[in-house]
Amino acid sequence: MDTQKYALGPLLNEGLSAEDRDLFSDARPVPYEPYPVAVVEKFVNWVRANSLWLLAFGTGCGAVELNPLMTARFDAYRMGVQMRPTPRQSSVFIIGGYASVKTLKRIIRSYEQMQGPKFVVCLGICPINGGMYWDSYNTVNKFDEYLPVDLYITGCMPRPEVLMAGVLELKKKIMEGRADGANRYVENFDWYKANQKRVIKDWNMPDYNW
């Protein structure tokens, strides 16, 4: 495994043609430190936990379980959850079930466009070990090889109730300051990138989608 540190100069963006390289930033992502004052960090973590903006990007069959979450029956708004249509403004990415290689590429792209701190929640069994698609030619089996996962919610499919329990769990994790997926991703950037590129054979995007 490549263990280069993250501060090793600009990305090469080898997947892009020479003229496209001008269009995309080649900056390497950098992890963020906690706020210097511990109380502030604790308070901000509480705030983050209570304002979970989901990226409205249904990546698999589990996406159908996301929508009831916002209806009158479950009303996840109560818990500070709401859908945002653009990755830039979202803080939680819910992987809705199996991730095919083709979708994985889009997931990575959208994830990298989200601004930290950001959290990944995997829904269902498929992202854990492939689930019923474990021997498929196009479904990844271990999602955490490609992106840092903060929380798994297993089941096939998990009901919205379970999803809500997961949200509560995620909140707890965030408040405790343990949901550090975004930093893990950056710190192990080269490892994640290598894994991603191993399965995504036509890597035609920049190495980091700012």
Binding site: I128, V199, K201, D202
Partner: protein, 187 residues
């Protein structure tokens, strides 16, 4: 509108139609040789009212060494579908493109090209990626492609994964005392 059997028999004068098989009242299969297929499709579309190409798919008979293309046509007036089988050599499979007859056939042909490696010379955007992106193996739907081995090799398997027969598992879970007798209950 004539009976489809009669229709096929009538076409049979000019085409080597064989293996006519009436699957259901509204679905009939038959087979023609590769060389006559497109000509027959055109006549079925223009003269016999089978104006709709519902789909185009392929069956891999690895044992026989052939692919069987299936063109599914539909006649709206007669509410009847015709399935036309065409056998191809499995190695270097190639078939005449029918995107000139139905433009949407190009998409099916792209898929077949990607999944089975069948070539359709002249079909638009045939060699572009369709469902797969950056696929570097033999076409995945060909039966000689070992998808489990591939998955293991490329995506790794997570340890701790077990497999159980759902029927046995659920039986044990739900009816631990039940003896082994055929059940006529749940479907």
């Amino acid at each position: 509108m004539a009976n489809p059997i009669e229709l096929l028999q009538r076409f049979g004068k000019n085409f080597a139609i064989s293996e006519i098989h009436e699957q259901k009242a509204d679905l009939t299969f038959f087979k023609v040789p590769k060389e006559q297929a497109v000509r027959l499709l055109r006549e079925l579309r223009d003269d016999a009212g089978y104006t709709h190409l519902a789909f185009l798919t392929n069956i891999d008979w690895i044992e026989k060494g052939i692919f069987t293309l299936t063109y599914m046509l539909h006649n709206y007036d007669a509410r009847h579908s015709l399935g036309m089988h065409v056998d191809l050599e499995r190695d270097n499979a190639e078939m005449q493109s029918i995107h000139g007859l139905w433009a949407q056939a190009a998409t099916y042909q792209r898929e077949l090209r990607e999944m089975y490696g069948i070539r359709f010379p002249g079909s638009p955007r045939l060699d572009e990626d369709f469902c797969l992106e950056g696929w570097d193996q033999i076409p995945p739907m060909r039966k000689e492609f070992d998808t489990a081995a591939f998955s293991l090799e490329r995506f790794y398997s997570r340890e701790g994964r077990g497999t159980e027969d759902p029927r046995e598992h659920m039986k044990g879970l739900l009816y631990p005392t039940h003896t082994d007798e055929p059940s006529s209950g749940g479907q």
